[in-house]
Symmetry: C2
Subunit: 297 residues, 2 copies
């Protein structure tokens, strides 16, 4: 089944549009995980990251649509971290969760193919269902990814409109009435054109931040065949009303990511006393329920 | 010494502005390297990549300014490839060559810091002198890299104007008389402003393709404090006349990358009969001399 159709099935089966961002950071790991790190070595921290992420996966499996490991935090540990990333992706897929590897990779021609080959599909070293990619290099940098998606029933999410304050510097520049991000949206739509599956969606998704609700509505209309990955929910300030416009009439077409608010929920003021470090997985579970509840429209 | 000043010293000491792109690809490895790969495993290929790249490094050390390993090809092998990337970077630095890791990474805020932490400086797992980064996410995605550059005397090269045919789709869009790539150039200049070293250059470099000579001149003028990494020479069609405009009056300010034309020189029609696979390192040496000669203005 195509990635887009699998994502639709995942949303329907789980009854959730939540994507759990797996962003392990040394300083924020709950005590029961951190305390097991003996010796400040990359291998020791990598083992902790694997344990942290796989325990979260076991709690959220069946209850959310997908997970999004952030490659940067694994890379920060060096090669040992990249081994951990592979374990985390494999564990999530075995648990029935779709995986969006957040790597924001890209390059030109055969180099782009190498990245696609590295991250997409069962035959790849990291075996992810999908990958986030950057569009700055243009159409011929995205096409190699799309070809690999076709061959391996995988997906990509192209950065369109990001949730950070500085994202507008380039993305909002308007030429002949069209912004850069709208031009990227057109490209996403073109690349999906001959690839729309049963769910109504194609392999080329888009990243559109939750911090810009008006633009989310504009982007939903501009990319009717694209799954939208909406970051910026929760810790970054986006709320349920802000993400509504990302969905189609059937409640499909978007997944909403939260990282810190779920994975480090034990440290949130409202959960700290109730759960704390000791019951950090209960805090993850409660935060998942809470987010799922907020996103039932 | 700052990265920019070290790069100036490297150009002056070697008398060369050549950057050798280390792009290992299974199918194009010379027979003496390929034949040693026993079993089609990532570890076996990674060992071959390490041997291939380190032997090239030993040939070009002292004769070129820097090397640029392409992360994508190492990542294609999975974690074993990332171990190889570390070996290659370390070997190049031990041989006295500056290293530009071509990863085109980026993300926002603390995630960008994680990438910078992964790749830049002696204390990082991959220990590179510099890293290529993508600007699509805007100023606040570049600042964390610059902070790490300050702390570790490292550098970055921001994608400004790329050498691929499709690069113009976003990069050439003009708003109020200014293209996207010119806006990125302004950002590079701003970030360098308080950071110019003895050489006249700062830690924030720029990638400007050799396939657009007019734009290279425009970009040299727009970013007087930025080292320019010029890809697209040789196999991608750029010639010596096309890159001249990248240099300042002292012959500093730019390095010119060639990958395939040097590392796979044994397969070039004009070298094939003379060297072939058996003498592939002699072909690397001859191609290096040839490129150095072409770039003496």
């Amino acid at each position: 089944m195509s990635f887009a159709d699998r994502l639709a099935a995942a949303v329907q089966t789980s009854g959730s549009v939540t994507c759990v961002g797996l962003d392990p950071r040394k300083a924020q790991l709950p005590a029961p995980i951190r305390d097991q790190v003996v010796g400040d070595t990359p291998d020791a921290w990598a083992a902790a990251y694997t344990q942290f992420c796989t325990e979260i996966i076991d709690v959220v499996a069946g209850r959310v649509a997908c997970v999004k490991p952030q490659a940067a935090f694994f890379e920060q540990l060096g090669p040992a971290g990249m081994v951990s990333l592979g374990h985390v992706i494999a564990h999530a897929r075995k648990a029935g969760l779709l995986v969006i590897t957040d790597g924001k990779r890209n390059d030109i021609g055969s180099t782009a193919t190498a990245y696609a080959d590295a991250y997409l599909g069962d035959a790849s070293p990291w075996g992810s269902d999908s990958l986030t990619v950057s569009p700055y290099l243009g159409r011929d940098s995205l096409e190699p990814f799309v070809e690999v998606c076709d061959a391996r029933q995988a997906g990509i999410f192209v950065l369109v409109k990001t949730s950070n304050p500085g994202g507008g510097l380039l993305q909002d520049r308007v030429t002949d009435g069209k912004s850069v991000y709208a031009a990227v949206a057109d490209l996403v739509t073109e690349l999906n054109a001959a690839r729309i599956g049963k769910s109504g969606y194609g392999p080329v998704g888009a990243v559109v931040g939750a911090t810009y609700p008006e633009q989310l509505a504009e982007m939903r209309a501009a990319m009717p065949g694209a799954w939208i990955l909406i970051p910026g929910f929760g810790a970054q300030g986006g709320a349920a009303d802000d993400v509504k416009a990302g969905f189609d009439a059937s409640g499909l077409g978007a997944v909403v990511n939260s990282s810190r608010h779920i994975i480090f929920a034990h440290a949130r003021p409202e959960y700290k006393d109730k759960f704390g470090d000791a019951k950090w997985l209960d805090a993850v579970s409660a935060a998942t329920d809470e987010m799922n509840g907020q996103l039932r429209f």
